[in-house]
Amino acid sequence: MRNRFVAQRVGFALLTLAALAVVIPILAVVAVIVIRGAAAINWEFLTAMPRDGMRAGGIFPAIVGTVVLTLGTAIVAIPLGVGGAIYLSEYARDTWVTRAIRLAIINLAGIPSVVYGLFGLGLFVLLLGFGTSIVAGSLTLSIMTLPVIISTAEEALRAVPTEFRTVSASLGGTRWQAIRHIVLPQALPGIITGVILGLLRAAGETAPILFTVAAFYLPRLPRSPLDQTMALPYHLYVVSTQVPGMPQKIQFGTALVLLGLVLSLNVVATMIRSYFRRRRQW
């Protein structure tokens, strides 16, 4: 009967190999981009305008553009997302209407990002007449991030024990008072984590901003919300595919800045989550 255990050994070895085959390429991507990108990073690269058809100078407007777009997305997506999550966790009963809402959220999460781009182009850029602008791009990105924010915020709200609401009601508080003063503050760390994760996705996306906001080469900062702007993900696409004779240094440098921005925010979100999970008293 020993070969059963031989089979187990082989099986476990295969599983370990599979896990390594997942992890090693991730390490390789991060390591290569960090090592080769680090050579390009200096003060000028981060704070100067691009020059010479982007082959020299810095990527400052792309960094600013990404930050502005992410902020714009936050302004729209946070109230909508958190409001939607409050509705689903505190008010909605299990009816066909709420089923439809849940289905819609799952669907929003699954719609290809380039289709969001088409939608943004059709509605915000053309029909509402915002043109290719920060407003149009932020609105497009915020609809794309809604499902992430709603589902993580809803989970955070649901994790608050029902007793908290019951106690508030027994003291004569209204439903909204319980939510506003007790449930929301308790769920806040989870909601913040969800918001950061959602905004991260927005900051790294290229396809939805292709036709709604991104400028190919605009060596100045945006002047108004109706202005176009450069953005890091699109800039990386441009310098790696659209401009012949682009120095690899600039490509890897841009990739590193984008990866660094996204991953460091990711770490912040994870830290918030684990810190408050440990501190939670219920």
């Binding site: 059963r4 255990f5 089979a7 099986g11 295969l14 599983l15 370990t16 599979a18 896990a19 997942v22 992890v23 991730i26 991507v29 991060v30 981009i33 109230p79 409001g83 939607g84 409050i86 509705y87 505190e90 008010y91 209407v97 809402i101 289905l103 819609a104 669907n107 929003l108 999460a109 699954g110 719609i111 290809p112 990002s113 380039v114 289709v115 781009g117 088409l118 939608f119 182009l121 059709g122 509605l123 053309l126 609809i143 709603i150 004569g172 439903r175 909204w176 790294g204 996306e205 290229t206 396809a207 993900p233 699109y234 696409y237 790696s240 990739a255 996204v262 991953l263 990711n266 994870t270």
Partner: protein, 298 residues
């Protein structure tokens, strides 16, 4: 306790607002679909179906055959799943059933890192580093081929597949494992014959969600697949350049005149994509709803 009219009014206002926001998500999905229809349907009127679903995509000559694009998307999505399914399920089983605690603590955040890497960064990595390796290993004239795209896509869908499959394994009652072991089966036999089959529906959901991600992925695919709109038929199709639906929209929408036939056809491709991903998600969601209704007995 009585509440002043002001409190009651504020309560009403805020609750209505929240309700409106709750419903707005459904509104967005409908709005997105309506917009695709509004801009995409004229394509069906402007050119005949034989052309639209033909085999040649040469927009400048009025040939809008979307068949190569659809098959291109299908080819790399299926290839990506063929790579990602065994890897993802094995990794999920490893993480949930076999790995020592310290390995689990390392693996989970690593997979989150992978999920956080922007698609355009993976595309860039694929172009500059994976494509040359593929070219040299398989002796192809270029490394920017369907296989490279499938490889990158497989890794992009892995985080989804692993985390959903892991949840499914986690939901298998401990009783099942104990029963397997009590019968004298090894841990491996228990995993293989009891736990994984019991988690089957969750694993199917995982694969479907991964597939939904893969078919809609745009930037990485556009950067590494070579973008040649040829029919991906024949045995060597994996090692030839292909072009997907998403990449076509992303590459061409910026340059077409609004309102032209080409513009409407690109939106029509958007409709096809929307419908495909909608159906995949509907299927995935229905298995999730069914699982919930059956409660503890899966």
């Amino acid at each position: 306790m009585k509440h002043t009219p002001r409190v009651r009014w504020a309560e009403f206002a805020i609750e209505s607002l929240i309700r409106v926001i709750g419903f707005s998500t459904v509104g967005f999905v409908i709005l997105i679909f309506l917009f695709l229809l509004r801009e995409g349907l004229p394509a069906f009127a402007q050119i005949d179906l034989g052309n639209l679903f033909g085999t040649r995509w040469y927009p400048t000559f009025g040939l809008f055959g979307t068949l190569p694009l659809i098959l291109g998307s299908v080819l790399i999505t299926i290839s990506a799943i063929v790579i990602a399914l065994p890897l993802g399920v094995a990794a999920a089983v490893f993480i949930r059933e076999v790995a020592p605690n310290w390995a689990r603590e390392i693996l989970k955040p690593m997979i989150e890192v992978l999920a956080g890497i922007p698609s355009v960064v993976l595309g860039f990595f694929g172009m500059t580093l994976v494509a040359p390796i593929v070219r040299e290993t398989f002796g192809a004239p270029t490394g920017l081929v369907a296989f490279t795209g499938a490889l990158i896509l497989a890794y992009m869908s892995l985080p989804t597949i692993i985390s959903v499959a892991e949840d499914a394994l986690d939901a298998v009652p401990k009783m099942y494992r104990d029963a397997g072991l009590a019968m004298g089966a090894t841990q491996w036999q228990t995993i293989w014959r009891v736990v994984v089959p019991a988690a089957r529906s969750g694993i199917v959901t995982a694969v479907m969600l991964g597939m939904g991600r893969a078919i809609g992925e745009t930037m990485a695919v556009m950067m590494v697949t070579g973008n040649a709109a040829r029919l991906p038929l024949g045995l060597d199709a994996l090692f030839r350049p292909v072009r997907t639906m998403t990449a076509t929209i992303a590459a061409e929408m910026g340059e077409v005149a609004h309102g032209s036939v080409h513009y409407h056809v690109l939106f029509a491709i958007g409709i096809i994509l929307f419908v495909i991903t909608f159906l995949i998600n509907l299927a995935a969601a229905s298995t999730m709803f069914r699982k919930r209704r059956r409660g503890g007995l899966r």
